[in-house]
Assembly symmetry: C2
Homo-oligomer: 352 residues x 2
């Protein structure tokens, strides 16, 4: 644990401290676009075995770092480990995404749902410790969790959905029941992230993937209020350094509100304009993002040009972490991911 | 054609002229939530027969007006009639949405695509004339089309998609090819809407359903630029009245830009805040929307409360057309749709 951190560019940028260049990492950087990932995934048999075996999770977490000069590792895991540990039986159906054996169908289902014993998630914390050891201080490790609203979306629906209509009806029809569920989840997520931090996560990101489905009023009440609760309960200092927190909402548009949630960084999807976003958050938080993942299927010269635009959009000074606006897709050629990272490394020093 | 319009509340509100109460219509108001619609749909056999038979299209267009005191009829049709007339072979797969027999797979496919002969779409204009006759001036009739970007999304993908990744790659890799396609579509849509207006449509709406998938820069270049082109080419006066144009982008967030596209009304989805949106468009356009369709599955008292909030959010004065933020879903009880309309009728006079 006490190995000194050799590259702290990510943590510095997240806290808006001066850096020599813009740090870069890629959402889902340990993923299916890497042939070496697909190999390990195939040997493991299924996705959850990969998540639940710390040695394998560690192995795939480190894979992209061997290829690209990335400024962070991110724990290989899934946001749905928590509902899985609550007994909902997570599994993945090829081409359809996550499914639960049991969804929350009735008020009774929701009321009887108990927070998981943290020991059920030991495999996550073991993976964090192991990755930290193997990283040996090269770059910081990011831990993560889903937001209460986003986890509840999947739990009530029983899996993925284009519009999560069941929970959106529940929200209007039985708001107090939904608040009960979100409260249980917020407490659990707080414990879960604190355990990741104790095990060695040096920054944490909360994925509010489906927050953008909500009206402004509902977003404040059912998503952001719980972000505040969680962030207020997190251990913000560990191993003598501040542990930055990133709040990422897909299609999030209430930037001023989000910037007041207590996080250090806002993660933005590709639809946001960084110049405008930076003006709106007024120096309160750093920004992470936000290249359109579709750019990575275009030719390398286009990728470089779009990276240049994002850097120019943010402009001069610290407080920007380069990333995609959403996860990298399996069809991206590895050389294209390399071009993205190289372009950030080569073009960003001019902004610092 | 020369029957006087007995209820012009919609047209007046769209032009920000004084009204006695806020007009209301519902996106997809002639749809599967109505048992009488399902009956006609079943007899017709398939959805496209319904669209292509003016008598049936007219019949279902009028159905919701017999139930609710709505302030407009909207042509029963589909945004994909244009690519269908271009020879792509539109059909609907149960539970999966629209599919084309042929999608635009290659640059050659796109380059050889010719604008349709307008006569192929005669059934639409015939339906418009017939509906106007049957309406006998009770309320105005709204015509519509999809935006070039939205039609191109379906045409390149070959159907619906969660992220339309093929066209988003095309956008970055071969922007000039995409512009060619969008140009052909914009010309066609202009003619198509002008024919609807000539046949009797008293307002028109352009559905930019997938504009919200784009970055700010790409939205301006690949969606909004074509909105401007189309709107500039539309016949804006017919039968002695102005024909208002509504531009609807789902997840649209560049309101100031949208307000400058030449439209009279911006259609907003439920994630927008009407107070904020009204401030941002600064009296340049009227606003249409934006109740979350999920509200209609909640109990009537909740529906009434949420309608009240939307009315209060817009505030006093004309320039608001009440609607959902997206189409009504098939699982909504008819009494709930009635409660929505009644609540607008009863609560909105206080704002005028």
């Amino acid at each position: 644990m006490n190995t000194p951190l050799l590259n702290d560019r990510l943590l510095r940028a997240m806290l808006r401290e001066p850096v020599d260049r813009t740090p870069v990492w890629i959402m889902r950087q340990a993923g299916r676009y890497l042939p070496e990932y697909r190999q390990v995934r195939e040997r493991a048999g299924d996705f959850m075995t990969l998540c639940k075996t710390p040695e394998l999770a560690c192995q795939v977490t480190l894979q992209p770092l061997a290829r690209f000069p990335l400024d962070a590792a991110i724990l290989f895991s899934d946001i749905l480990t928590i509902p899985d540990a609550m007994g909902l039986g997570l599994h993945f159906v090829e081409g359809e995404g996550p499914r639960f054996k049991q969804s929350l169908q009735t008020a009774a289902d929701i009321r009887r749902l108990a927070p998981p014993v943290m020991d059920e998630l030991r495999y996550v914390f073991d993976a964090v410790s192991l990755i930290r050891r193997e990283l040996a201080g090269r770059v910081p490790l990011i831990g993560f969790a889903g937001s209460p609203w986003t986890l509840a979306c999947y739990m009530v629906e029983g899996g993925s959905s284009s519009d999560f209509s069941r929970i959106r009806s529940l929200l209007y029809d039985q708001p107090e029941l939904l608040h009960h569920l979100l409260n249980v989840l917020a407490l659990t997520i707080t414990d879960y992230l604190n355990e990741q931090i104790a095990a060695g996560a040096q920054a944490v990101q909360i994925f509010d993937t489906w927050g953008g489905l909500l009206t402004s009023a509902a977003y404040r009440e059912f998503s952001l209020a719980y972000a505040k609760k969680i962030i207020a309960g997190l251990r913000r200092e560990h191993e003598g350094r501040r542990v930055p927190v990133v709040w990422f909402t897909k299609n999030g548009h209430l930037l001023e509100d989000m910037a007041g949630a207590g996080c250090d960084v806002l993660g933005l999807d590709w639809t946001a304009d960084l110049t405008e976003a930076r003006r709106r958050v007024g120096g309160k938080v750093a920004l992470q993002g936000n290249l359109d993942p579709a750019v990575l299927r275009a030719k390398p010269s286009v990728i470089r040009g779009e990276v240049a635009k994002i850097l120019a959009n943010y402009g001069k000074g610290s407080g920007h972490v380069f990333n995609l606006g959403h996860g990298i897709t399996p069809d991206v050629p590895v050389e294209h991911a390399a071009e993205l990272v190289n372009a950030v490394v080569e073009l960003s020093p001019a902004y610092h």
